[in-house]
Symmetry: C2
Subunit: 286 residues, 2 copies
């Protein structure tokens, strides 16, 4: 089937959807984005995603192109036009179209682009065996808390992972600690059974799945700490996993070709994954 | 007059020039660019610009869309179509158009976009009085030597300068040293009469104007050092200036509202500016 996109106020076949070459998203990476999961045709955790979108826009002082209600209508329309039952909706807002000049243009309208696509869940073998990650230096800028489209370092990192036969790359800061993956947050379960993930700060993007998982952990009454951890600590951990909107909760069983714990997905990770899938099911209205 | 752009292999009125929403330049800042000055209708220092373009592409492993000769033809054609005698030509190459996924697509054609526009020289009062800069923390990534379109930090920095009534923002690294401006290189002349600019490394974009000015300095037999310098050293300097393709050599007479030297453009800066303008004139064939 043809896919449809929303661009410049219109719903168009995606093959015709284009932006002017002087869109600042294209010339300056001057924009932000969100990816929202779709289950049974419904947006999952749309509220937190749109709240984070607001925060990113505010940090860059890009005005919202429309309110939450109107934006929700556009998102749901694009999901419906693409007949997505399970998948994701992608939205991107740039500062707008203006003659090229670094500083903000005086009069400009923010540009909203929305696409949606079907996604299948991860292949069962990834869930059953867990995935491999490699570690790479974190080369990114100092404001990774803003979900901007300046994703070039993430592109290069993900490519490094792929070429190493890994699912993701964990980025390592100057102190030798893991910040996060190139499109996911990083977690470990220590030998002592405590869940550890890096606190939300300028060094990581505070994933919506991350915040949901933290809530689930609180509900379950499990021990957890928000602090930085090193590659060595991750390798000495009992379990490791990653979280993202499209990967959900996914066991990490090898880091730089060394096994984590027993080298198979652990009980903690499996339990959290099940709880997260239940959260998705509840959010979808099932 | 209408302006023309080159995009997707065609010369189009710029108002119609657009790129698909899944161009990776738009979704990932996965691309590079160059800005080349035009004098008397001729490209200035095209050779070094295209050599740097090659380097940026190689670092990101983006194939060249065409060879130097063909690219030169496109650049000159866009300059001619826009009837630019004095101005600039802008070129941008993205990795191409593909369904959104961080890692490199397997089969993708790099996308070239070229625009050109007329520019006047700086207003005489800027040249005569010099310009103000403000200092800001350098928030950028660790590979500023790649001329990528991931320019969001530069956008925010230039905007900070504009709101402070300044021409440019000088970015300060963790050690308190100046890296460069948001779209220009930074220089001082010490009280002892030595020219100082930061060496080309991962922390700065090695400006073509910067390399030309270094050559002119060598030809003049002047003392110079390539090393980092602090804001305090810049404020204690006899002169300061900035260089870029569109600003040429421009005196910096105030930093964070404090005067540099006498607070007026110095002899060294004026002499270099004249030599640089002569270089432009020679390059234009005049």
């Amino acid at each position: 089937m043809s896919r449809y996109a929303y661009v410049a106020g219109r719903y168009l076949p995606q093959a015709e959807a284009a932006v002017p070459i002087e869109d600042r998203g294209y010339q300056f990476a001057d924009g932000v984005y969100e990816v929202i999961a779709v289950e049974d045709g419904r947006l999952i955790d749309a509220g937190p995603h749109l709240k984070r979108l607001d925060r990113s826009l505010n940090e860059l002082r890009i005005p919202r192109p429309m309110g939450d209600r109107a934006l929700g209508i556009v998102l749901r329309r694009v999901v419906a036009l693409n007949r997505v039952r399970r998948g994701m909706v992608y939205l991107q807002i740039s500062r707008g179209v203006a003659p090229r000049d670094h500083a903000f243009p005086r009069e400009v309208q923010p540009q909203l682009v929305v696409t949606a696509k079907r996604l299948t869940l991860q292949p069962p073998h990834l869930v059953e065996a867990g995935v491999r990650v490699v570690t790479i230096p974190d080369l990114r800028w100092a404001r990774c808390d803003i979900k901007s489209i300046a994703l070039l370092p993430n592109v290069m990192g993900k490519q490094a992972a792929r070429e190493a036969g890994a699912y993701e790359a964990w980025q390592i800061d100057r102190d030798g600690n893991v910040t996060e993956g190139t499109s996911s947050n990083a977690w470990i379960v220590t030998a002592g059974g405590s869940l550890v993930t890096r606190p939300a700060g300028n060094e990581i993007l505070n994933g919506i799945t991350r915040t949901v998982v933290l809530e689930l952990v609180r509900e379950l009454g499990l021990a957890f700490e928000q602090r930085a951890f090193s590659t060595a600590e991750a390798l000495a951990a009992r379990e490791a996993f990653l979280t993202s909107t499209t990967s959900h909760v996914l066991a990490v069983t090898r880091i730089d070709d060394m096994p984590v714990g027993d080298g198979v997905p652990g009980a903690f990770t499996k339990a959290l994954r099940q709880r997260y899938l239940a959260h998705l099911a509840a959010g979808s209205g099932r």
